[in-house]
């Protein structure tokens, strides 16, 4: 028995040695057959946010005819030097392009990009690529505010159904929103969602509670519960990554609009629809650029047209006529006749906005630098891919502390 065991161990060691020798061969021409891709995620596939990246990547590989074995998938990577160390390990392991999915990864990925100029580094939700000016470092995001707006229409239709059936009055149409941080990405998200709701139900208002974390099941659950019980919200949506809010909604039988993926399994009687970013189009672009030796766009913004901004299929809980309302708004968004942040559709302190300087170029003091309102609407995700709409508009009230 002991001999067999030691034999197995020896074989393993020889095998590992052989493998490491093979991976040391340098300076290859990148092809579809030999490209190696690294994906770094903050949590693992139990988080809707990270699961979305993992599944999009697998789909992109399948579409491109690249074997799944060519992917290295490092999960639960903290926003610390662990991210840098992982990226470095991926480079040494032969990866040609490395993608990280969390905002806090950016500085560490940038550090790796400075050190390994031959490898491409891409990062979701980040803001520094267009000012860092490294050929091998890029940011990517999607105009998800358009998807949120469409999801808002689905919510509005549900509220309208509740008002029409006499379940609530027009004044009781209060929407609750569980947000992670008081951060442009979240604020842009709930504001566009709210504007979508109000395009159907003009009397609707919104209450937002922040959790101070991107992923915290308990806090998200209790925030949703408080919105329902204390703040009398009749519909909930969220920008936080756990199943906390959907679970609270299912318990209280309150309709829920999700983000980043279907939560129908958690809320079969309350889930309506989810908007999400499909990262597969970007991953395909990123991988093709790497194979062809092209520079990847510094700031890539996915849209409805690229297939990056998607609304999942409506569930049976959606109100009648929702699909038609969404389709017509989608067509108008595509045609450019409808703008989500149309300044005639919202007010700030009772006034219509005519000018707003947004903080597009990241600097230490976060000074606003770019005029974002032009032609009667706020130009979101145009000057850089990551959202920068951070205006507090009338009709939305923040309950409790703002969380930075």
């Amino acid at each position: 028995m002991k001999k067999i065991l030691s034999a197995i161990l020896v074989v393993c060691m020889i095998l590992s040695l052989a493998l490491s020798v093979v991976s040391c061969s340098t300076s290859k021409t990148i092809t579809k057959e030999n490209i190696k891709i690294g994906l770094i995620t903050l949590h693992d596939d139990s988080s809707t946010y990270d699961k979305n990246f993992i599944e999009s990547m697998k789909r992109a590989l399948q579409d491109l005819g690249i074997k799944e074995e060519q992917l290295v998938l490092s999960t639960s990577i903290e926003e610390t030097s662990q991210c840098y160390d992982t990226a470095k390990q991926m480079v040494k392991d032969g990866c040609d392009v490395i993608f990280a999915d969390s905002f806090g990864h950016e500085a560490f990925l940038l550090q790796a990009a400075q050190e390994f100029p031959k490898v491409k580094f891409c990062h979701a939700t980040g803001t520094m690529a267009h000012t860092a000016k490294l050929d091998n470092f890029s940011n990517a995001f999607a105009a998800i505010y358009e998807g949120r707006y469409l999801a808002g229409i689905a919510a509005g239709m549900k509220l309208k159904e509740m008002i029409d059936s006499g379940k609530i009055t027009a004044e009781q149409a209060i929407v609750g929103y569980v947000g992670a941080y008081t951060y442009a990405e979240v604020m842009s998200g709930y504001t566009s969602f709210f504007l979508g709701v109000r395009s159907v139900v003009p009397s609707a208002t919104m209450k937002v509670r922040f959790t101070g974390s991107w992923y915290d099941t308990d806090t998200e659950y209790s925030a949703a519960k408080a919105l329902i019980e204390t703040d009398k919200c009749v519909l909930i949506s969220q920008h936080a990554d756990s199943y906390g809010a959907p679970n609270a909604c299912e318990e209280a039988k309150v309709p829920n609009i999700s983000y980043n993926g279907s939560t129908e399994s958690q809320g079969p009687n309350t889930y309506i629809v989810s908007s999400k970013i499909d990262w597969a189009p970007y991953f395909k672009y990123m991988i093709n650029c790497t194979i062809e030796g092209k520079v990847i766009d510094k700031d890539w913004t996915g849209t409805i047209d690229t297939g990056s901004v998607v609304l999942l299929d409506l569930s049976k809980n959606a109100a009648a006529g929702t699909q038609e309302a969404i389709d017509s708004a989608k067509a108008a968004l595509k045609a450019g006749t409808l703008h989500v942040f149309d300044t005639s559709k919202f007010t700030v302190g009772g006034q219509t906005l005519t000018t707003y300087k947004a903080d597009v170029d990241t600097d230490d003091k976060y000074t606003p630098d770019t005029e974002a309102i032009k032609d009667g609407y706020f130009h979101e995700s145009e000057y850089r891919s990551a959202p920068y709409f951070n205006i507090k508009i009338d009709g939305i009230s923040i309950i409790g502390d703002e969380k930075y």
Partner: protein
Amino acid sequence: MTGKNMQKQRPVREPLFHVSKNNALPVWKGLLYRAAAVLAAMLLTGLLGVLLVRKNPLEIYAAIFKGPFIDIWTLLQNTAVLLGFALAVVPAFKMKYFNMGANGQVLVGCLAGIACMKFLSGALPDWLVIILIIAASVAASVVFALIPAVFKAFFDTNETLFTLMMNYVAIGLVDYMVFVWDKSGSGTLGIVNLFSHAGWFPNIINKYFPSVLVVALMTVFMTVYMKYTKHGFETALVGESVNTARYVGINVRKVIIRTLALSGLMCGIMGALYAGSIEHTVNASVGGKGFTAILVAWLANFDPPVMALVSFLVMFLTSGTEYAAASLRLGSNDFASITVGIVFFFVMASEFFIRYNVQLTDRGRKVFRVREKQSEEKGGTA
């Protein structure tokens, strides 16, 4: 049967096993036991790999042995960091003061260091900033370690709970300071002085070597301190028996506070390394090796050189299993954590059989039908 009779019968009931302390086991035999435990754990891991994640166990083993060597410096730094935490808790544990707060003590040290880096670099020369980072880190960690120590020394509060809770105070402090310093609203600080590198500790050989060197020096210091100094002896004596220590004229309060100040000093050095050399930022995830470090210290019987070896093996295994999860695209590190847990469990079980001698009692022999002859043989060798 009356109650009185039952009471009489109870003491007659003999246990099945007799467990006694075993100091006579030769070193090679102990190592053999441990190696067997690791091997058994790895075999179980392979089996679980087939059952749970449906991968070829050979592939898993190959990845576990390949991963750590892809970037040897990261492995060395991670080992050094884990060992640093273990060195920081060791004097307190030797005194039977259960310091569960190493995470928090290192974190506040890092926070203080980052504060200096963020606000002093540019205004003062770089070498002075680096000195101030180290001084601030050490000061913050020592204060943080001394608060529960003083309460223990003067009011005999429970240090396990106190130090554990202090971790959360540290996390709260860090979250709050990030909230104050970060104006973007994203909840992250980013790398401080990313482009200017002001206030960063200089790279010696590379960015990993300084940490390895510092922890190596800490190991030497701690070995000497624990084994050959009067302070170390006093610390151990308080751990063995507070009353004996008092009887021979040791000021127990003084020893508690002094030992925890030393713990804080070690944590402060780790915090400074995190701030100046490893992370250049601070958030609640920085460090976080304080609990694994306790396991390391315990498994190594509080012997610093052995702790170095155990730290290396733990980080090797962690890095290897995480690489296996990444290269086999398991989608989470759960399998890696399970593997490390299984290995720990097996090794700790083997420790029991190394440190204690388990023998059947007369009743045990009867119950398990072991013949008298065998037990005589055992008795002869013992």
